[in-house]
């Protein structure tokens, strides 16, 4: 029973940790499938986390926070599109620019507005009548079933009691799959990432498709950021994205640029993180595995995958290349 309970706790934490990764990986999928390399997820998450927390605090509403966070992330995505699509800029360089800009702007503006060393004020502050955090949702009968063995643990602990955004993230995976493989937009999107000239000659605007995809990317990355600040931490902390954008990128690659694969990779990385958070290392057959090794494992696995030692990850063919009409 003890083992079962701690398993439930770890899985519960996994969902919590994996949610921003899922949002961000799906965000990355929309951008990379149209050929835009996206190392800028990190910056978009950070910017939206900040904007979300700041707006939620000022308006005293998590929903306004959500709106502001998503909007800011979309603005950053448009900046990304402006550089890579309109001006054929290098995708990686523009991604770096966005990440660094987001780090600098959130710190500078945060300090200027709230004078708390870059933090935003706490979103739950009864003394000042502030309650702008998303609350966890208790599913029907969760309380009644809590004491039933096994089912109680599974339902009341693991399935119930998460933030709304966790459920949205899980629902977003099949929705994104459906959009990508069953709709006109998805067909065109996948085509742009493979051969933009062909899409252009089919009478579809390559730039338009890329702007649209990056907009969706911005919305999803924004949800990841808002989840961190408005739901989990209830305040913004400098650099709180802490590499989640890069890890999501790794998950996307690990999932071979497909929604289900990305979901599984996010959950796997989430479990590793949950284990690392829970314990000071794990011992395996008498040999102690340090917690840092577990933390580094997602990155190591991605490197190994990319090297083609376990399966093969084939990126979209036109990825990273600006689309310029070639002359003869």
């Amino acid at each position: 029973m003890e083992a079962f309970n701690s398993l439930i706790l770890i899985l519960d934490a996994t969902l919590r940790v994996a949610t921003p990764l899922i949002f961000a990986a799906l965000a990355g999928m929309f951008s990379e499938r149209t050929g835009i390399v996206n190392i800028a997820l990190e910056g978009k998450i950070l910017a939206s986390a900040f904007a979300g927390a700041a707006a939620a605090y000022v308006t005293n509403s998590p929903w306004m926070g959500l709106l502001a966070g998503v909007m800011v992330s979309v603005v950053f995505a448009w900046m990304h599109a402006f550089a890579t699509v309109t001006h054929n800029g290098d995708h990686v360089v523009s991604g770096m620019a966005i990440n660094i800009l987001a780090a600098g702007l959130t710190a500078a503006l945060g300090n200027f507005w709230f004078k708390q060393g870059g933090n935003t004020p706490n979103l739950v502050d009864p003394f000042n009548d502030i309650d702008a955090r998303f609350s966890p949702i208790t599913l029907p009968f969760a309380d009644q079933l809590a004491d039933v063995p096994v089912i109680g643990g599974l339902y009341s602990e693991l399935i119930s009691g998460h933030f709304l955004l966790v459920y949205i993230a899980l629902a977003a995976v099949p929705v994104c799959w459906w959009v990508m493989f069953r709709t006109r937009f998805g067909l065109r999107m996948r085509a742009v990432g493979e051969n933009p000239s062909a899409v252009d000659t089919a009478g579809i605007s390559v730039a338009g498709m890329r702007y649209l995809s990056l907009t969706i990317c911005g919305v999803l990355a924004g949800l990841a950021g808002v989840y961190l600040s408005v739901a989990v931490t209830a305040q913004f902390l400098p650099n709180m994205s802490a590499g989640k954008g890069y890890m999501a990128l790794a998950a996307l690659i690990f999932g071979k640029w497909r929604p289900r694969g990305a979901l599984l990779a996010c959950l796997m990385f989430g479990i590793l993180q949950a284990i690392a958070d829970r314990s000071q290392g794990v011992s395996l057959g008498g040999f102690a595995i340090p917690v840092q090794a577990i933390e580094a494992l997602p990155y190591v696995l991605t490197v190994v995958l990319l090297a083609g030692f376990i399966g093969k990850a084939i990126p979209p063919k036109a990825i990273g290349r600006p689309y310029v009409k070639e002359r003869e």
Binding site: V93, I100, V303
Partner: protein
């Protein structure tokens, strides 16, 4: 085709300057929003960075770091590789320097220790670049992604080593023991003081000499040796390089080793020259600053030295802004991002208008000359 008529100085000087001006203008707007007059801010920063020997000591100390990380990015760039791993390579370079200083400091004279620690910094940094390089060259994994991953792996590895191995027993903070004083790279104020020139104390140390030597070395290596030729050929046109009998894999590995080595040298300045111990996240984003430096310096060592000086000024001057205006010093990071945005990502935005303008002016002046004749 239009390049044919546009002289080189337009591309080397006018367009980069225009991009930097745009970045400064955008930054100026941010300053205005933060209730700071940008011009006052510049003079405050200039005073902080160059007003006294303390100020420019710090400025040049940062400059030294940026020369190393900027050169690292540039060498890889010439081979067509985007090395985002400077952050991790510098961190691991610090491990090399730290091990040498902790192990040999006080046991061997400085004059013998220094070459060893230089080699250790270079070898450790290069080693951390080797795996991504090898994977790019022989397994086709994309160097951008692997070097990003290696930054995180480096940080986990160093975290582990600092907590479990390097932290002296009984201390609380996560850092290594302080090196024996005999292993410290002399500070500039000490050296010049010896010659009777009085300076205020600052972290500027003799590493800057090594940084300048490295910049010169990179120039000669890239443009005046057959290895540099092979690196540039590979970067510009890899199938032509293959046709020429250049071993692409070896060239990629060589370029990344040199790149990683230069990033590793960062630790000489920051660890052996100033901190005198290995600390958590000691690189602190300066590896990424190298990208901005290389872009701004157009991957040329001379440009990189100048860009490093500018960023040194920004870093030191940015600190001054905090005292003067109470603004977060990370405002400098905004400017850094804007430089990467305008000089790198939006590099082509200004190119066509400026080229057009030049051609218009040039043909205009030709016409009027013809009319006069």
């Amino acid at each position: 085709m239009s390049q044919q008529h546009v002289p080189a100085w337009i591309h080397v000087i006018v367009i980069p300057l225009a991009n930097i001006l745009l970045a400064s203008f955008a930054a100026g707007l941010v300053f205005l929003y933060l209730d700071i007059n940008p011009l006052d801010a510049v003079s405050t920063m200039a005073y902080g960075a160059f007003g006294d020997s303390y100020g420019w000591g710090y400025t040049l100390y940062y400059t030294t770091s940026f020369i190393f990380t900027g050169l690292a990015v540039a060498v890889a760039f010439h081979c067509g590789l985007f090395n985002i791993g400077g952050e991790g390579q510098a961190y691991i370079g610090a491990l090399g320097v730290g091990l040498v200083c902790l192990g040999l400091g006080g046991h061997v004279p400085f004059i013998i220790l220094l070459p060893i620690s230089i080699i250790a910094a270079g070898v450790f940094g290069a080693a951390w670049a080797l795996i991504p390089a090898w994977l790019q060259a022989y397994r086709g994994s994309h160097i951008v992604i692997t070097t990003i991953m290696f930054n995180f792996i480096a940080s986990a590895l160093m975290g582990y080593l600092l907590v479990e191995v390097l932290k002296p027993v009984g201390t609380m903070s996560v850092e290594s023991a302080v090196f024996d004083q005999a292993s410290w790279i002399p500070k500039m104020w000490e050296v010049l003081g010896f010659f009777g020139i009085d300076l205020q104390k600052s972290p500027l140390n003799l590493s800057i000499v090594w940084a300048i030597l490295c910049a010169a070395g990179v120039y000669y290596f890239i443009w005046q040796t057959r290895w540099g030729y092979e690196i540039r050929s590979t970067g510009q046109n890899s199938s032509a390089a293959e046709y020429a009998g250049i071993n692409l894999g070896k060239t990629v590995v060589l370029a990344m080793l040199v790149s990683g080595m230069l990033a590793g040298f960062f630790a000489l300045n920051v660890v052996q020259g100033e901190a005198h111990q290995i600390k958590l996240s000691l690189v602190n984003g300066m590896g990424f600053t190298g990208i901005a430096v290389a872009l701004m310096g157009r991957n040329h060592p001379l440009g990189i030295v100048i860009a490093s000086l500018l960023f040194g000024f920004l870093y030191q001057g940015g600190g001054e802004l905090q005292f003067e205006y109470g603004v977060d010093p990370r405002i400098i990071v905004v400017l850094q991002g804007l430089v990467i945005l305008f000089s790198g990502a939006l590099e082509k935005m200004m190119k066509h208008p400026i080229e057009k303008l030049y051609l218009k002016l040039a043909s205009g002046s030709k016409k009027s000359a013809a009319a006069e004749a």
